[in-house]
């Protein structure tokens, strides 16, 4: 598996995973600091699937309590950058 290393690579990977969960979404207009669920028509099932994809792609275990940290694009990049650094 190709593990992304830079913030931009993480960002692009997260967007790709989001696109898998919500293929109809226009991700070019996504505001990075605003919650996914406030911008996209996704539900808790979609969000769980998104977290599962992050888990599988980045090889990270994500506790349910940390879900809110992955609720925005910026949050995902921050979390995954931190995890990569540790």
């Amino acid at each position: 598996m190709n593990i992304p290393l830079t913030s931009d690579e993480i960002r692009q990977t997260v967007l790709r995973l989001l696109g898998e969960v919500a293929p109809e979404a226009d991700l070019t207009a996504l505001k990075p600091g605003v919650g996914f669920r406030d911008q996209l028509d996704i539900d808790s099932m979609d969000f769980l699937n998104f977290v599962i994809l992050i888990h599988k792609t980045f090889g990270l275990e994500i506790p349910e309590a940390d879900y809110p940290k992955y609720a925005t694009l910026n949050g995902c990049v921050e979390q995954l950058s931190d995890k990569r650094a540790t």
Binding site: D43, M45, H55
Partner: protein, 416 residues
């Protein structure tokens, strides 16, 4: 010999378009095998065989729009003799209404008006090819005299009828008084996104109008303390890897399924002026589709599944509903529907029953509310559960017992 017919996949379906055959002539099929893919107004559906045998004839062609009940293929069941192939169009295959699959398959729509071509009520003998030609030429097969075997309507009959109508036009004659719109509509617009959405809305509207017209609904609701369930879920999910975690909706679905064991009259289908209880509990879960509209596939034997298994099945049907790869049995088998609009901020659902089911359960948003426990006012997460039920089958007392059962079950989430 068994006929593979276009199944009805819900009360709002009158026809489907054959996308492709998944089997070819001579292939062996086992009951439950996917035999065809059919596009409906709502989604593409994989159609399962109800028989075990060998595909002897494929009567419908990809692209054809085929009314519910039309014979699409002939399956020679194990132990039966092969029959000579039907040579369309000279000897078109019979058309007959689908036989309801006991005990949970919805009934087919009402048969067309009886005419000279109808040999018995609800039985119109016409091949898919002839029906397609009739559609293209604007001819209503119900008003065509069949000259084929057993009075079957052939391609020539359709063409002759169209020619005769043209001659009447030229002579200033009258159109047939019957409407010409009961046959299939042209295929041309089926794949267009906007048109598909409009047609989906029409089919949903037709089913819901029928529901409100025919079913005397009554509505009940209750507020359920979800404190124990949410706490249990949080602790349970800590133990589970992310791939196996549960959503709280699964607890609601399982609670409904178990409550139906206590009030089984709500787990029934209305057929021929009577409610028929289903021995199996197949909860249909309402899924909103990306392109708009909704669909409610069944999770089979919901009451018998563990929460983990139920979650996997829930994820699977939601994914396939949105990808257009549901199976026919998943659409024809629900014995009750559960819908949750909590994520949209809705607190109370006033649902419309999906015929021929006799009940629908709605859940709203989990909200924090003041709640009295042992004389103390505390904040608790609560959800409003509502029941829409058919007064021909149950009354408010039994409906209330059912909602109370759901409440009790959710107070012991570890037992679900």
């Amino acid at each position: 010999m068994a006929e593979f017919v276009m199944p009805t996949l819900g009360s709002d379906m009158t026809e489907g378009t054959l996308v492709e055959w998944k089997k070819k002539l001579g292939d062996r099929v086992v009951k439950g095998d996917i035999i065809a893919e059919v596009d409906t107004e709502k989604a593409a559906i994989e159609i399962e065989s109800f028989h075990t045998g060998v595909i002897e004839q494929l009567l419908a062609k990809p692209g054809e729009r085929i009314p519910v009940g039309t014979v699409m293929a002939i399956i020679r069941e194990v132990g039966t003799q092969a029959t000579p192939a039907i040579q369309a169009p000279a000897s078109p295959p019979p058309l007959q209404k689908v036989s309801p699959k006991e005990p949970v398959s919805p009934p087919p729509p009402p048969p067309p008006p009886m005419t000279a071509a109808v040999t018995e009520p609800g039985r119109l003998r016409i091949s898919p090819a002839a029906r397609k030609l009739a559609s293209e030429l604007g001819v209503d097969p119900a008003f065509v005299q069949g000259t084929g075997p057993g009075g079957a309507i052939t391609l020539d009959d359709i063409q002759r009828s169209a020619n005769a109508r043209g001659e009447r036009h030229e002579a200033g004659g009258q159109q047939p008084s019957a409407p010409l719109t009961t046959g299939p509509t042209p295929l041309a617009s089926a794949g267009e996104g906007g048109d598909r959405q409009a047609r989906m809305r029409q089919t949903i509207a037709a089913a819901m109008a029928r529901s409100k017209r025919e079913i005397p609904h009554y509505y009940l609701s209750t507020t359920i303390d979800m404190g124990r369930a949410m706490t249990w879920l949080k602790e349970e999910n800590i133990k589970r890897p992310v791939t196996d975690r549960l959503l709280y909706g699964v607890l609601l679905i399982k609670a409904v399924a178990l409550a139906l064991r206590q009030v089984p009259e709500l787990n029934a289908l209305w057929k021929e002026n009577a409610a028929i209880q289903s021995p199996a509990i197949h909860v249909g879960v309402a899924v909103s589709l990306r392109q708009g509209g909704l669909i409610a596939p069944a999770i089979h034997d919901t009451d018998k599944r563990s929460l983990g298994d139920l979650m996997s099945s829930f994820q699977d049907v939601v994914k396939r509903a949105r990808a257009g790869t549901l199976r026919s049995s998943e659409l024809s088998d629900p014995t009750i529907t559960v819908t949750s609009l909590g994520e949209q901020g809705v607190e109370t659902v006033f649902g419309v029953i999906y015929p021929p089911q006799v009940a629908l359960v709605g859940f709203g948003k989990v909200v924090e509310r003041p709640w009295v426990i042992e004389g103390q006012v505390v904040s608790r997460p609560v959800v409003t559960a509502s029941l829409s039920a058919d007064h021909r089958v149950t009354d408010g007392h039994r409906g209330g017992v059912f909602l109370s059962a759901i409440d009790r079950l959710l107070q012991e989430p570890g037992q679900l």
